[in-house]
């Protein structure tokens, strides 16, 4: 179920003095099962891009094709979009509302018109997938810890069985262990279920570690589209765009400046360790 955006453009406050082009002529193709890291400074257009992919706002021009179908065509049934593409917004736990964790996770599939038995089965599977203990299922979601709440909110989206999962800063405000849990879960969904992942993150380290492909946005356009290793070679350009590179990448460049003949393209701690050992032995 590939996604293709065709000259996608979005304008806020069109025909007013505050007119602002938030997304400018973006054409990309996202293939099945890819893990995309979407980065860009605040206000670069990431969220607008996601909202367009999910069919939540109407483009000024251009369109999005999901599995070959134009999602903005008049006769396109938006409900099929909801079951194919799941979106996890920032701080998704603010959207929890039901009396119990289990009921909350049932809400999505129920709305899709899935029958009760199947809904419950899906909710159970989704909660198992996020690694929640059975005894928590019938507790109020409001009694859970921050990390648990967020995983329940993600389960609510997973229960709709999307093929594509979009996550807008899913780890903001979580402690390091909570961050690793969520990212590990997302990686598992990609590897084991072949889900396409689009992850918006402000952590260059996380993007370097998990994504196969990085899209960098600036002023409503995609300015880099490549593997993390290639993208994170551009230290200076990224800095100018309000971004950075993983801390280990900075370290490798510094080591080379100091005369240690290491290659500077390591983007994870593991790679950096190997490379430094290789040079020193």
């Amino acid at each position: 179920m590939p996604i293709i955006t065709d000259h996608l453009t979005y304008v806020y406050g069109s025909k007013t003095t505050l007119q602002k082009t938030a997304l400018n002529d973006v054409s990309v193709k996202i293939d099945d099962g890819q893990f995309i890291g979407l980065i860009g400074h605040t206000g670069s257009g990431k969220t607008t891009f996601l909202q367009l992919l999910a069919g939540l706002i109407k483009p000024a021009s251009g369109t999005v094709y999901l599995d070959g179908e134009d999602i903005y065509a008049k006769d396109f049934d938006k409900r099929t979009l909801r079951s194919k593409l799941g979106i996890v917004f920032q701080y998704p736990e603010h959207q929890l509302f039901e009396e119990t964790v289990f009921k909350d996770v049932c809400f999505g599939p129920k709305n899709l018109g899935v029958d009760d038995k199947e809904t419950e089965l899906r909710a159970y599977e989704a909660l198992k997938m996020i690694g929640l203990e059975d005894e928590v299922f019938y507790q109020s979601p409001f009694d859970l810890s921050g990390g648990q709440k967020r995983r329940v909110a993600i389960a609510g989206v997973l229960a709709m069985k999307p093929k594509i999962l979009i996550l807008d800063e899913p780890t903001a405000g979580l402690d390091p262990a909570g961050r690793n849990d969520i990212l590990g879960l997302i990686l598992k969904l990609q590897k084991e279920q072949g889900m396409t992942i689009i992850l918006v993150s402000h952590s260059m380290e996380d993007v370097a570690e998990y994504a196969d492909r990085v899209l960098v946005m600036d002023k409503g356009s995609i300015v880099f589209d490549n593997t993390p290793r290639e993208v994170f070679k551009h230290h200076e350009e990224l800095k100018e765009l309000g971004l950075s590179v993983p801390q280990v990448s900075v370290a490798m460049s510094k080591l080379r400046e100091k005369g240690l003949p290491v290659k500077t393209d390591a983007i994870t701690v593991e790679e950096a360790v190997k490379e430094i050992i290789r040079v020193l032995r």
């Binding site: 860009g40 400074h41 605040t42 206000g43 920032q90 009694d143 810890s145 921050g146 990390g147 800063e169 903001a172 405000g173 979580l174 402690d175 390091p176 262990a177 909570g178 961050r179 402000h202 260059m204 380290e205 800095k239 309000g242 971004l243 950075s244 993983p246 801390q247 280990v248 900075v250 370290a251 510094k254 080591l255 400046e257 100091k258 005369g259 240690l260 701690v269 593991e270 950096a272 360790v273 430094i276 050992i277 020193l280």
Partner: protein, 281 residues
């Protein structure tokens, strides 16, 4: 001089059912004792739910201890007559800048605090100018806060607190929602406030690398102080930190892994420069 003293502070949330009967008691802060010297840069680390934010709210009488006492600049936070003095002595900055900015124009927002304190107009003007200058936002004084990036907004929030001339600023995850450059801007502004203006800083964060310049770090776990020491003392205990759901900065991790491989390195490396120096020797 001692600025904050907490003595055996305990805080309990009482959970009640729909009829108001007590269902259970959560001890969010459990017998915490600590001292903060005037002019120190302190960081507090800890997993989600470890009690950091609850404790921080005791530092300007938003919450009062169930047991124990907090003294701020010699004043007991339970003393109702001193509450305004306490809040003027310690300012707070929270995670989401959008929830803290109320003015239509940047300088108006910064003036809100001193205006409420009854500061004479001429002095407000001076304070606003000086505060915006300190955080590097003077050029934006006539702008609408809506147009600013996340990091800029957060610096305006800090200026708003500064204009009240506090002796201490408590920041609860001020960088959680910011992009990498925004994060750096905020941390740089805090270090300058501490170095130049000698304002006591208490920083709560989930980003380990933001704390490496602190005078002291406290690690909280399950409502208690689990570790305390200089960044070097704290980050040399990699495994213990992992138990508390934390980690070490990426550079420290890199050096730790290299050391495991048999390289001769100092016990705890905090910066890229230290690592480069140690390896090129």
């Amino acid at each position: 001089m001692r600025f904050i003293k907490a003595e055996k502070v305990t805080f309990e949330y009482i959970r009640r059912d729909e009829d108001g009967n007590v269902e259970g008691i959560n001890r969010a802060v459990d017998s915490v004792s600590l001292d903060v010297k005037e002019g120190d840069f302190i960081s507090i680390l800890g997993a989600n739910g470890s009690g950091k934010s609850t404790f921080a709210k005791h530092l300007n009488s938003i919450l009062l201890p169930t047991e124990g006492t907090v003294w701020v600049d010699g004043m007991d936070t339970k003393d109702e007559e001193k509450i305004l003095d306490i809040r003027m002595a310690t300012g707070m900055v929270f995670q989401n800048p959008d929830n803290q900015i109320i003015g239509q124009v940047v300088e108006e927002d910064v003036a809100f605090g001193p205006e409420n304190m009854g500061v004479p107009t001429q002095e407000i003007i001076e304070r606003v100018e000086e505060s915006l200058k300190t955080v590097g936002m003077l050029d934006y004084r006539k702008d609408s806060p809506n147009k600013l990036s996340g990091g800029q907004k957060q610096r305006v929030s800090i200026a708003g607190v500064l204009a009240m001339h506090p002796k201490c600023i408590v920041l609860d995850e001020p960088t959680a929602m910011l992009d990498p450059v925004g994060r750096k801007e905020v941390i740089r502004a805090l270090r300058a406030l501490n170095d130049v203006e000698k304002i006591t800083i208490i920083l709560i964060t989930h980003y380990m690398e933001e704390t490496i310049y602190s005078d002291k770090i406290f690690v909280m776990n399950k409502g208690k102080i689990a570790m305390e020491g200089t960044p070097r003392e704290i980050f040399s205990r990699v495994e213990e930190l992992e138990e508390y759901k934390l980690e070490v900065p990426q550079i420290t991790k890199l050096a730790y892994e290299l050391k495991k491989q048999g390289l001769r390195l100092p016990d705890c490396v905090l910066t890229v420069k230290e690592l480069a120096d140690a390896l090129s020797r």
